[in-house]
């Protein structure tokens, strides 16, 4: 069996809010294997984004550990680690300037060849390269953010609700884009979505989070339709309503 690219052991993050300690990611353990798409589903506020932030080390865990290629997260310089485990935010933020500026911001000295490839991967047109991104549509902006994410050659990409900030008409194209990128490039995608339908369209493996805990894992259909845990069954009932 292949070795996991990313391992999560008893990972937790607790925050103090109004003087009370709250566990927003609660004792999560899971292994992510290379070249696969994982989807994380769960109700709003269940800690999906918080988990991704821990994997990118934008936040510090309060317990447990993340292991990347067999080595503890903390043994990598944070900036190098983040280039290898890229994170796409729920709302795309583009830096001032053109598409090219955004790509070069991620990685200096990109060759023309690699820029061309990135545009292709993100399905952007070559003539868009030197256009300012201000008046791009939501879907185009997300593509630029995806191209920029790929510019650092990540091995794992964390996509936080990549279509939720977009007009529904772009959803399908972005979903296809993600599936294509993973199929072609050698990378692992962990996609957060609040929609089980989307999870069914793009992934095979699913993780269901409720209240910061990982309550179901496994094949996507089974996680959604035949949950084993109480919380998983509850989630299914709510989805059916």
């Amino acid at each position: 069996m292949a070795t996991p690219v990313l391992e999560v052991h008893n990972l937790g993050r607790a925050v103090t809010q109004d003087g009370r300690v709250k566990s927003i990611v609660d004792d999560i353990s899971y292994n992510f294997f290379p070249d696969k798409i994982y989807t994380i589903i769960g109700p709003s506020g269940s800690g999906k984004s918080s988990l991704l932030r821990l994997l990118n080390r934008l936040d510090e865990p309060t317990s447990g550990e993340v292991v990347f290629h067999g080595k503890d997260h903390c043994d990598y310089p944070p900036c190098e680690l983040r280039q290898k485990i890229g994170y796409l935010f729920q709302t795309p933020y583009l830096f001032e300037g053109t598409v090219r500026d955004n790509l070069l911001y991620a990685t200096k000295n990109l060759s023309d060849e690699s820029i061309k490839l990135l545009l292709e991967q993100a399905q952007l047109k070559p003539e868009q390269l030197d256009r300012p991104t201000d008046n791009f549509s939501g879907g185009e902006k997300q593509r630029v953010a995806i191209a920029r994410l790929l510019a650092t050659c990540p091995e794992v990409v964390l996509l936080d609700e990549p279509t939720s900030a977009l007009d529904p008409s772009y959803t399908e194209a972005i979903e296809k884009l993600i599936v294509d990128i993973v199929a072609k490039g050698k990378l692992t995608a962990i996609v957060v979505t609040h929609s089980p339908e989307q999870a069914l369209r793009i992934g095979k493996e699913a993780l269901l989070m409720v209240d910061g805990k990982l309550v179901e894992t496994g094949e996507i259909n089974q996680v959604i339709n035949e949950p084993q845990s109480e919380l998983g069954k509850l989630y299914k009932q709510r989805q059916l309503k």
Binding site: L58, D59, E60, Q83, Y93, L149, T152
Partner: protein, 253 residues
Amino acid sequence: MSTPGFLEVGISLILVVIAVVIARYWRIPVEKDMALGSVRAFVQLVAVGYALEVIFDLQSPWLILLALAVMIIVGAHAAAGRVKDVKRPFVITVTAMTVGSLVTIAVMILTRIISFEARYVIPLAGMIIGNSMNASALTASRLTTDLKDNRLAIESALALGKGWRVASKKYIRNSATAGMMSMLNFMKTVGIVALPGAMTGMILAGAEPLDAVLFQIVVAYMLLSAVTITSVMAVELTIRRFFTRCHQLQHDV
């Protein structure tokens, strides 16, 4: 003409009365603040006047340092009150102001532009500390608001593997500039639009205009140095509260 005495000060209360009457007529609810402010200004300034006389007469270097310390602490406390959203802002303002003021004063004394006497050090320090108080407050509060308002932009850069200094470069620059801006504007218009206080005071007290001008130029350079050092220090101290060593933007600072 001689300088005004207590009698003339009493007569000049007419000006306060004029201001109060106007405010009342326009229904601007500030009469109380005006009256109180006038009394406060009188009491504080007279007290300072006597204190300075004592300090000048005693000629003790320790007394000079004590006076500087009191001025910096009071100024830093006022500046800290203007910095929201950061815990213990006093630590930031007092450190930035101390470094900015003391370095500048030390350079002036070591180069013998002024001698280490209360008559020179204290009034100049007053100007320096007043300006660095504003600089530290403006810089620190601008930086805290910018960092809080631009979380997504900063974390987008961090998530791409940029270090915190790169990710917040724009906000570092903008806030340091904000602290220095009034000084830079002052230097642009000085002498043309307004005659600065130090110079005006010297001329009123009977100095030759050219002497007063030369002195004012030194004052302007001195303030520029103090304000720049203070702003940069305030940035460095404030920003470290926001980022961890692992380049993470903190939630509570």
